[in-house]
Assembly symmetry: D2
Homo-oligomer: 430 residues x 4
Amino acid sequence: MSNILGQLEEEKVFKDPVHRYIHVKDRLIWELVGTREFQRLRRIRQLGTTYVTFHGAEHTRFNHSLGVYEIMRRMISDFSGRPHWDESERLVCLVAALLHDIGHGPFSHSFEKVFHTDHEEWTRRIILGDTQINKVLKRVGEDFPQKVTDVIEKTYSNKLVVSLISSQIDADRMDYLQRDAYYTGVSYGHFDMERILRVMRPTEDQAVFKQSGMHAVEDYIMSRYQMYWQVYFHPVTRSAEVILSKILHRAKHLYQQNYQFKQEPTHFYSLFNEKLSLEDYLRLDEAIVMYYFQIWQEEGDRILSDLCVRFNDRKLFKYVECDPSKQMSDWPTLIDLFKQANIDPDYYLVIDSSSDLPYDFYRPGEEGEKIPIFLLTPENDLRELSRESDVVEAISGKKRTDHKLYFPLDVLNDETEYKEVKKKIKEILF
Amino acid sequence: MSNILGQLEEEKVFKDPVHRYIHVKDRLIWELVGTREFQRLRRIRQLGTTYVTFHGAEHTRFNHSLGVYEIMRRMISDFSGRPHWDESERLVCLVAALLHDIGHGPFSHSFEKVFHTDHEEWTRRIILGDTQINKVLKRVGEDFPQKVTDVIEKTYSNKLVVSLISSQIDADRMDYLQRDAYYTGVSYGHFDMERILRVMRPTEDQAVFKQSGMHAVEDYIMSRYQMYWQVYFHPVTRSAEVILSKILHRAKHLYQQNYQFKQEPTHFYSLFNEKLSLEDYLRLDEAIVMYYFQIWQEEGDRILSDLCVRFNDRKLFKYVECDPSKQMSDWPTLIDLFKQANIDPDYYLVIDSSSDLPYDFYRPGEEGEKIPIFLLTPENDLRELSRESDVVEAISGKKRTDHKLYFPLDVLNDETEYKEVKKKIKEILF
Amino acid sequence: MSNILGQLEEEKVFKDPVHRYIHVKDRLIWELVGTREFQRLRRIRQLGTTYVTFHGAEHTRFNHSLGVYEIMRRMISDFSGRPHWDESERLVCLVAALLHDIGHGPFSHSFEKVFHTDHEEWTRRIILGDTQINKVLKRVGEDFPQKVTDVIEKTYSNKLVVSLISSQIDADRMDYLQRDAYYTGVSYGHFDMERILRVMRPTEDQAVFKQSGMHAVEDYIMSRYQMYWQVYFHPVTRSAEVILSKILHRAKHLYQQNYQFKQEPTHFYSLFNEKLSLEDYLRLDEAIVMYYFQIWQEEGDRILSDLCVRFNDRKLFKYVECDPSKQMSDWPTLIDLFKQANIDPDYYLVIDSSSDLPYDFYRPGEEGEKIPIFLLTPENDLRELSRESDVVEAISGKKRTDHKLYFPLDVLNDETEYKEVKKKIKEILF
Amino acid sequence: MSNILGQLEEEKVFKDPVHRYIHVKDRLIWELVGTREFQRLRRIRQLGTTYVTFHGAEHTRFNHSLGVYEIMRRMISDFSGRPHWDESERLVCLVAALLHDIGHGPFSHSFEKVFHTDHEEWTRRIILGDTQINKVLKRVGEDFPQKVTDVIEKTYSNKLVVSLISSQIDADRMDYLQRDAYYTGVSYGHFDMERILRVMRPTEDQAVFKQSGMHAVEDYIMSRYQMYWQVYFHPVTRSAEVILSKILHRAKHLYQQNYQFKQEPTHFYSLFNEKLSLEDYLRLDEAIVMYYFQIWQEEGDRILSDLCVRFNDRKLFKYVECDPSKQMSDWPTLIDLFKQANIDPDYYLVIDSSSDLPYDFYRPGEEGEKIPIFLLTPENDLRELSRESDVVEAISGKKRTDHKLYFPLDVLNDETEYKEVKKKIKEILF
């Protein structure tokens, strides 16, 4: 078996539309890309249901993971020889970048909510458990898998290394903003990464940025802000997400009620029971989920089949803006009217709040885990970004919440039954 | 029900990374996009197995179909008011562009070879059969579905209309070259479509191009040439395609041998029997296929499970160039040696020739169906492109064939058994 | 003579790297582009001295003027048929867009400061005076030149028309942000113009923007903000601008002192006297100015020749940040020390403040002339942008001032004479 | 004085729209860029009169020279450590790349034809003569300027080094194709330079290209082909070039006739006498030339002033295709008719042939100086490109000639005098 710490005879490249080429010289990286756990990322889309809104967003986590690796590679090749940079951390950085999302499953957000899985835990289990990835990593050293896990879990002793992959401006975010912008086609998401990498400097605890590059960092923060509200929290995407969650809820509910499925959803059993083995988890991918969503279209349970048809054929829920404090007074009435109209409000009347979604705004000092971004002045002082930048200051620490109420307008517009009740519902909603 | 021939109250747009925006004003188009048969295209990748080579190429036929529609929309809006252009053909053009690929199934190329399906026939059946698409089209007129089919099948009386969607330079090709280049990230595939559209002129039989735009057309032809050999016929992609075909062959073979599958592959039965109903066909998408490929990994049949693992985990076959006339003399020996090494040559020794793949080079006059590209001189003469362009002339009519021999090098390199036989095999191959 | 209101037989296009193509169908536009006054814009760079910092920024006002015309063309072709839009204003809009910068001379900013010229006044004189442009415009109607002038001067009765070319988001700004970003190569300056044009709606007084497009407008504002501080106010560019102004000052001073130039600067006489005829003004272009700067390198006056060498050979002044309130106390000392070191402080010690430069921030209501940007809600209400957007709010109305002190560091570092005095100067400066 | 062979304390970058950033670490390069001879390249456009056709093409040789340097820098940093590569050639490579065009003057093509200057000779004189550049280079070593000259003149002993800057695929061509495409905005000119650099391998005599990258090289050749015919030989550009040459001819002729210019064209005297000193040559830039063209508009000589007005105001000559063998029979008649119409045929009837222009097609073996492009097979054989590539073969060695006859159509259409004669002329021409 060849030396896992060696270099490939000839550098390999992947053609990548975002970074042009992804360069691999380390045998270790090459072998990790070839494992079945890593190849599985090809079957999990990066942006879940976003493709229903932005049809270009069909790229997978495989795509993104290579990108994060490549950015990390460029970052630390610039660090080479600089103070505070320890060249012996090189491999753990590259591997952590490559594998940081390895624990993701299909439509993670909804699955985690409904089945209480946790992709970070799965990341650990995949890296430390009985997997091809683990075998490759162990060839570096018995403790190497644990080191990689520590970096991803932010418990690694070298905080600089952690900051490169998990901070408010890291290889992960820099890749996904650019990549998601590229595949959706939106014009946000552009920033001058080459300049950011050029002004990045290692310090003991984290990477900081020369003040002369502040505007590039500012631009990155704005890209991020725009991408969240224009792409990641798009209300149509959230409608698909709402339906997806409700499908999972319904299936679980039916299972718990001992409902007799036409075809046994064996892949879901351990999820329903929340006793998922590593092998079970690795079997889950979007093809498996979409397979069930298709066969469930023909299930006897009206709610399950309807929701699956909606998801597959993109017959989504519509929404109205919703002010929880105000609308809550109408809530009992609405639920009652839905029941009168024979529409189950547990599945067909859903409040979705974007503050549920991960949105890590910039509040230096406030929340323990958020490390602020620091600028390095020519005098070698560090200054926190939002103190230097008006525009970053403007959006710092301001939690923006957005509540929307989702419901099937097509059903409400169907006047063949419950016409009067539906009329009342619509009066409340609009 | 609203008037299907009307305009939407407000133009709808899809954000598209290739054409920036896709504009929809016609209610007809909007409703067609919303049908389940069209939404199904989201579950069928545009480039089949190409993603194993170019990881960016994960886009679907949904993506491409909207793009072809958009190009057609721009084309005919430029035609408006010009001689030979009949504005009453507008809708049939737009619809044919949108639906031209509607009959595609998952991994069409392999499925068609193994199960003798034909996506063009399925296009017809979907448009004319009992589908949501058919219902929408009939609201335009009882004979409208047939008209759309005629355009796609090139039997429509207005040959100009046919040429816009099926000729050597049409909306379909112009979209896929640019789109596939965008998603793979290769630098080929760029040409000046805006200029081509500007110099396009309707004539009675086809669209022609003002001579002043010859270089843009030339550039398009070169893009196409490069994309075929650099992307579409990439040997690694073909390796995945070879394995995919062999999986289908093996499954069919096992079925015919009354093999007892652990889980009945019900979705495949009518394929195996070549008695596919429209409903069966529409159920097939890549999620279904990938589902089976995953569960077949654990089938008892060693060949089926091995091939599925190879496909899913990207353990592809390697290849050598192969000159059929020369290597054919070694062929019986090779087959014999494979058998001696206990490697079934029917599945593990495969010649793939790229001339099997659709590659419609420019042979004006030679093959009935190929309409040459004509340039329109300032004096209103028509001149066939390859007579005017040296570079097009250079690649016209030259069928380039490429034969490769695929085999599992990992097995041949496994020295735990049949070491001597494998050594002999490798001597012949390399 | 052909009908000036007619269409060209065949649409003409200019290849443009920013807007792909610039389309001209109106004979009027075509003829205006062909006038000598418009062709003269080819000899005046869009960004003055910016090329010393960003070597790509060598594009001219000709380039930009065509771009503004093209954006206007797209804007009003979208307006066609909408309420509040008067199609009879079409031509005056296109012409005003094309000619809005026609009055600019070489290095306008410095020339205006030193010689008290005013490009807006020259715009009027070129359009209304005895020029080829005026002759072409009069063929439309005797009062047409005046109408064009009124639009450019914002006194035109139709305020909507004025807003398209002069407001906080207009054809002019949208072109220059994108164009200057393209030529400098900076990554700022991208925004989704296509979307902005799509959500633009005419009202009686100005164009407004559908609220759904707020983020594209926000992005445009941020682009503008970044371009100002990253490109337009770049300290190195300002150094070249400082030297340029001082050359002009010196030449004027020498003329007023009856200095005997080796070659008479005839092109400058009427500038020095501030009695510039239209013909004199039109003769001025960058070639003329650069010609004199070159021959002045060999003038006997040490200051004039030194400054010209500095400008031509890019031996620029260095700068320090300067807090006027604080440094003012050192000011008399500094001036005195400069004199002791035989460095004339009138020419070699210069405070440049960026607030001198046009920077029209967003202060709705505060300054009479700034019309705020309004968003149009689905309920047809208008809301001022900064009330809806946190990031715009953050930069609204905040005048950012930046003072820099420029001086020739090379001279101060030259220790062959006045070593001690120079040492003291540097102690104060750094 | 700091060590010229040292590195800058901090790497400097230039923002470049084509290569993103241009990186300078060597003090030598930084100092060369700062010389007056190099800064002078800012006043000489890269594409001469092309801006009259493609308004974006206003970029200068300064721009391009930095680009060639940057490509060279990337090339040889890839070579580092490879066989045949001598790291001690690094600096001479970078400097030769940076300075290869230093001898160009304004509108070189026309000036060289009319005044028999030779930019290659001037390159030598600038590098070896009494210049700032020479002083900087000598600090490297007394013989260093000569070495740089040898590389640029292709007489350097290390043929590999020569091939990087002067061969059929070199840093110079790779920059200008991309750069000219970027500034003109045409879609040709794109090729995958990153891939070409990746497959480039040093050999003893020249750089060769791994066969796996053949298609990228093919694409480069096609870009070049398209750029020549679409951009560099554009007939409108050639019209401006024709007029420019005739201005120079006329001015020289008048000088030789002892014509009394209103203002003495002192900058041209040594050109007219063909006795140009280095100092005279360095004074020449486009500003100087354009200055004279402007003042000559008001010269008494009708031909000189008319041609200058035409050049400045873009009143160009029109053209017809011309078959010399055929039209030559009409030539005496045409000349006679022009004289009858009082239009001097020496200045107003011009045949321009594109074969006059440098167009170095691919004829391996035929012309001594053209080194063919070689592909390196996996077996380490070298194969000449056109033997491997159909499309390159198609355009190899075929000299394409294009003759156009230019004349002032406006004058011929002016019916106020010589109406009948002009009618006859037009009958012959069209």
